[in-house]
Amino acid sequence: MTAILVVLVHLAFALAITPVLIGVMRTVRARLEGRSGGGIGQPWRDVLKLLAKEPLRAPGSTPVLSAAPVLLMASSLVLSALVPLVSTLALPSVPGDLFVVVSVLLLGTVALALLGLESGTAFGGMGSSRHMVIAALVEPTVLLSIYAISGPVGSSVLSVIVAARSADPASLLNPVSLLAIVALVVVVIAETGRLPVDNPSTHLELTMVHEAMILESGGRDLGWLEFGSWLRLTALLGLVANLAVPFGVAPDASLVGLLVGVATGAVKLLLAGALLAAVEVFLAKLRLFRVPELLAGSFVLAFLSVSAAYLVF
Amino acid sequence: MAVWIWLLLLLPLFLAGVSYGLRRSAWTRWLPVIAAVLLLVGGITLVWLVGLSGPVATASGLLRVDALSAWMLVVVGAVAVVALWGGMDRSVSPVPPSSNPVQPSSRRRPGSLSATDGAALRPTTDPILASGSFAALLCLFLAAMTLAVVADNIGLMWVAIELTTITTAFLVASQGGRDSLEAAWKYVVLGAVGVAIAFLGITLLSAASLTSGEATVSWVLLLQHADALDPTLAKAAGALAVLGFATKAGLAPMHSWLPDAHSQAPAPVSGLMSGVLLSVAFYVILRIQAITDAAVGPELMRGLLLVAGLLSLAVTAGLVLTQRDYKRLLAYSSIEHMGLLALGAAAGGPLAIAAVLLHMLGHGLVKSAMFVVAGRILDYVGSHRVADVRNLLRLRPDLAGPFLLGSAALLGFPPFVTFFTEVGILVAGFQSGLLWPMLIACALLLIVFAGIARHVLSMTVGVPAGHPQTVPVTRRAPDTSAISPPQRISLPIALALTATTVLGFAWPLLGPLTAAVAALGGAQ
């Protein structure tokens, strides 16, 4: 029963913090570029506006056009339910295992890609093709880096890993977890389409990946798509933050623990978001065919962290 | 009981006389079929008799039928029935030039394979071979093979094999063209030389038997006194005899006459020669192997037969890949199957010998049926070349069907008996320790499979020329305009193919087969 409470807390926390996180990231970026920016609440207002507007439909389009946004939103919500953002108490029957989480993430990616293809224009196809190539190349790094971290813990359930790491802080600083965390950061950037892999704020045909797929959607479809993508960023960023700094995560479902968890979770998340935005200002977008080198580099990092665990320690 | 042996020997002679006497009348061509049927019936009764009361001897020991000889009689009879009855309706009497829609490319390109020129295109009646004399020679051929099988005296076997060479010489030359004459010359010279070497072997064998009392070449006596034979002489005699009879069995390196003779001879003759004459020669090799194994141990024969078997497979593998004449393709497939028999004999052991004997029957039936069908294809297309035969399955399904089924049998697909025997021989080879030779044999068998399959497929299936290259399959109904009226598959070929499918599972054959294997081991 308490686990369901924790899930609800996770969902509520994710839904609430996401627009704020995006707002903070955009304001930090604006301030660093000398602009005043639209304020923290702007993303929230954008989403509400979009949800109220009416979407359009071209003749001959299949139900994918209307189903994909809802599916993306649903997969992001499930993702944030399973990832230990606030508390490490997992649902007994759906423990948020490594591969289940990645598969739910990929379900959202596939829904987005199919939406891109459904639009029937060259941009949708281009975006979908690039997005799938990047997702395919990222996959080994995701699994290997989490495998490296789960090595000493002995189980692949994310909440158990975070709990174990918060229990013994010494393991945080050894090279194995450092290498794995760096690899995971690259994964988050690639998966959620941040710079240097993809520029979220561009509409330049030749460079956009994520934006190209949602080019044809409008109104509430676009609303769900935007909110879903942001939610994914929150979930993944929260996961990395908790893995890197596992303090403050509530070990059980007590009221005090949850409150502390929410507070620390929010702070960690916003700090991480601000740091990411700050770094993005100084980065330029990589050409698409240089991205595999970046991903190969992150894969080598993850591989070293696994074999380092044996060879060195 | 002995009367059966004399019956099987004398009746074909009598029929030969009758058909030669009335050689002008056309119905004499049915006489060889009668001789063949009689041989088959005689063979089966002898198998049954020998099964009941042991070997039958007559003519003061010169002729003796034990289980092995009886089995060989059945093989000779069965293959003869299929070859002669199958080849009956066209081989001898000239066939009016049937209209065939596929124009043979018979223009003579210099230096290319001799697509038989106009004169030899249609089997014209050759002055020296009226249908009666052709039938007479066939009956003599059958009689000679029966003599070779029933003889107990190895010298007599040699004489019988020599007689087969003489009778088939004219049969090969019966087409009368330049090529069949050349084939006949090569056949007789190489055959006679080979068999002469065998005779040298037999003389040394009788010399070797001097040390065991009186000089004899009777198989039974030699086997009984095997340990008393002079070892070095026996070794030399065995080697030379097997080398000589290997020529008649078509084993490499003495095989070169076979493709020419079998591809130029008329269909029933090449069916008989390929199907059973090679097996009869191999039967004599088995007899001699029994003696040398008893006298000097199996190493000698194993080495010789292994080399001969692998060489035969290698020659076939090489020459079947880019072969341009489908009758020569069938001839090379005979060399391959003889190579397999040699490997089986080299392996030794009850399973191997039983597989060899059953393979003789299976291969004989299929090969004679294939040569008969090839004869009909030659009639229909008019040229020997593989390139001139195109999508036979659509134009003449009654020819292409048996041709495909026969090739599947030759390549060793189940449910044909050649599958069981081929696997039996290979597995027995492994069991008798011949590891590396059997691996090489498997590799060569693969190349042979690739070669034969390539040619057979190019002849029977494929997109008809002048047809849109890729046509969406759903839209087009197959145009049946070009297909000539569907003719029936001829009965003997159908019988031969159904027989080979049933043989593998025919458990009543187990008794005679094990008896024949025991007979080879000298059991009474």
Partner: protein, 670 residues
């Protein structure tokens, strides 16, 4: 005469009945009659398989032969054990579904008498291979399967030119696999003296022979399973075969190769040295990665599915290799889960590959096209096929709540929970395997998004795709049944895994909550039903909110998509399969030799003006290009050289005899 023996005997009778129906049924009803006959054969086969899987051991059906057997008993015995029962069940179901689909789909040569007889023989062969109790029966069923499939492959020989060459490659490679098996079994029989599995398993074969036999047998089974160095027949043969036949070949026949590997590794030569496992892992991983890479860049739908079969079989063999490696190094827990994952992968691949191939068959039937670049927009026109194909694609991409997801999950759990600290070799091999498997899953995702997205969504690119129509009832029934099985296996993995665990004697596998799968050894569980409930719990409020908003601002139909403001572009401007995989071709330039050609037609008189431009990209199968074509050329040169040997001069022939005589004289007189 217990249940299993009765089942086996029934299969033989049903096969005979199917053949009789095929030959004597009137032309109009032949498809229906023969189809039902073969379907019944499949169903009875599946039933027998399941009973054998649950542990019922028959006394063995004996078929007498003309050749004297080895040790007293007749050579042909049919006695499937648990593992054989499992594979028999897979083949039975696949054959049944393919036969039902064939009723509506088969037309032209494949619906002829020989077509249906060959299909019945093919099905019987496939069902006898796992139930064979000794080497000779195994080889007989193996060749029966090969013969039947070769005849079926020749069905459309008159319609398309490549069919004949594909059949030749297929026949030669199948015969290569047969000869390798004969050699391998020969060595094993020689060492153990008997042909039955139990006799061979009883004797421990000493080292040089065992490794030789292992390599021969694994090479033979790899050729049939389509693993990398010997896979080239698969992408040639499957597309040319009629679709319901290629579904049976891809889903069931290649599994016989997998069954063979398991038979050798688990039963015949159980305690092999460690390098055996490494060989399996390397070959499996190479096949998986190479297969999916080639699949990702194919534009012909059936070639794409054929290459993806190579990938899936590669994953299965990798799982077997990892299982062996872990069991050998003492980690039986992880090893057992890896073996279980191999079986789960096998059954899930059989399910979704059947649906995908039948879907491709339906598309081919409706549009007459296989090339994705010429399809598109079929989801609107063929809803049933599109949804079934979609479910199959989801499972092939290993996404939640499908059989593929469960199988990949089990494999990754085995890899993750293997303790790589045991020794250096495992510390290097496991992460690399993990990386390759993960990359394969990622590329699989891309391949099947491409296949479904390009093939079924957006607008039809050619008139053939535009006037496509939904397929007949029997075909739809087969497709839907297949999709239901895929989702069913995904939702209820627990009981299935428990039954399979006994087949590879894997411990620590249980069911949690009636349907979920729990791996006791690692305390990890997968409860797909719960995951669906959770998603439902999230989805229902979301849809409610969405519906509420939609009532106030309903969706408006317009005749123009935005498309950066240009007017409605023609469907040919959409991304197609070649362009979709173009970034991948650029990234993996090394192993995907892509030959591009751009030919430009210039306006006559004005060289600068371009009238027409065509871009074609052809990716070459590197292994085929580098290994097989030179080999074929070499064999042909050997043929030409050998032909010079027989040049017609009688002196040369007499020379051969003379040389032989001299050599024999010298040899005898030494």
């Amino acid at each position: 005469m217990n249940l299993v023996d009765a089942g086996l005997f029934a299969q033989l009778c049903l096969a005979a009945a199917a053949i009789l129906l095929a030959v004597f049924a009137p032309v109009g009803h032949r498809n229906l009659a023969a189809g039902i006959g073969v379907a019944a054969l499949g169903v009875v086969g599946a039933a027998t398989g399941v009973t054998a899987l649950l542990g019922v051991q028959g006394a063995g059906l004996r078929v007498p032969l003309a050749l004297p057997g080895f040790d007293a008993i007749d050579p042909l015995t049919l006695a499937p054990d648990r593992l054989g029962g499992f594979f028999l069940a897979i083949v039975g179901v696949v054959v049944a579904v393919a036969a039902v689909f064939g009723i509506g789909y088969a037309h032209g040569p494949v619906a002829s008498r020989t077509g249906w007889t060959a299909f019945a023989a093919f099905a019987l062969g496939m069902q006898l291979v796992p139930s064979a109790g000794d080497a000779l029966t195994f080889l007989l069923a193996w060749e029966l399967m090969a013969g039947g499939s070769t005849v079926l492959l020749l069905a459309d020989h008159a319609a398309r030119e490549p069919v004949r060459r594909a059949t030749l490659w297929y026949a030669v490679m199948t015969h290569l696999s047969f000869l390798l098996l004969v050699a391998g079994f020969g060595v094993v029989i020689a060492a153990s003296g008997g042909t039955t599995w139990s006799r061979i398993a009883a004797t421990s074969i000493n080292e040089p022979l065992a490794s030789g036999a292992f390599l021969l047998l694994i090479a033979g089974f790899a050729t049939k399973a389509g693993l990398v160095p010997v896979h080239i027949w698969l992408p040639r043969a499957h597309p040319e075969a009629p679709s319901h036949v290629s579904a049976a070949m891809s889903a069931a026949m290649v599994k016989m190769g997998v069954y063979g590997v398991l038979l050798v590794v688990l039963r015949l030569l159980p305690m092999g040295p460690r390098w055996w496992a490494i060989v399996l892992v390397v070959v499996g991983a190479a096949s998986a990665l190479y297969g999916i890479l080639q699949a990702a860049v194919q534009s012909d739908l059936k070639r794409l599915l054929a290459y993806s079969t190579t990938e899936n079989i590669g994953l299965i063999v990798t799982a077997i290799g990892v299982g062996l490696l872990l069991r050998d190094s003492g980690q039986t827990g992880a090893g057992d889960v890896a073996m279980l994952a191999a079986l789960l992968l096998a059954v899930s691949h059989a399910a979704f590959k059947t649906v995908l191939f039948l879907g491709a068959g339906a598309v081919l039937h409706a549009t007459g096209e296989r090339d994705l670049d010429l399809l598109g927009g079929l989801a609107a026109r063929m809803p049933w096929t599109a949804s079934a194909f979609g479910v199959g694609a989801l499972s092939a991409a290993a996404l939640p709540v499908t059989s593929g997801f469960v199988a990949e999950w089990a494999l990754l759990q085995a890899l993750v929970h293997a303790n790589s600290q045991v020794d250096r070799l495992i510390a290097v091999v496991l992460p690399i395997t993990m990386g390759v498997v993960a990359l394969t899953i990622g590329l699989g995702l891309l391949t099947f998004v491409k296949a479904f997205g390009i093939g079924f969504l957006a607008r039809p690119r050619t008139p053939a795709a535009a006037d496509a129509h939904e397929v007949g009832p029997t075909m739809r029934a087969a497709l839907v049944f297949g999709a239901v099985v895929v989702v069913g296996l995904g939702l209820v993995p627990g009981p299935l895994a428990e039954a399979l665990a006994t087949a590879v004697n894997a411990g620590g596998v249980g069911t949690v909550g009636a349907t979920g799968l729990a791996l006791g050894g690692f305390g990890v569980l997968l409860h797909p039903l719960a995951l669906t409930l959770l998603t439902g719990a999230v989805l229902v409020p979301l849809v409610a909110v969405n519906f509420a908003i939609a009532r106030r601002a309903p969706r408006r139909d317009v005749d123009l998509t935005w498309g950066c403001g240009g007017e409605r572009t023609s469907p040919r401007m959409e991304y197609n399969a070649t362009s979709y995989s173009e970034p991948l071709v650029r990234v993996f330039r090394g192993s995907l030799r892509a030959s591009r050609s751009v030919d430009v037609v210039r306006a006559d008189g004005a060289p600068l003006l371009v009238e027409e431009m065509a871009f074609t990209q052809e990716t070459v199968d590197v292994i085929e290009d580098r290994l097989y074509l030179p080999a074929a050329r070499g064999v042909r040169r050997f043929g030409d050289f050998a032909r010079k040997l027989q040049n017609g001069s009688i002196h040369r022939y007499i020379g051969f005899s003379f040389a032989a005589l001299v050599l024999v004289l010298l040899w005898v007189a030494r």
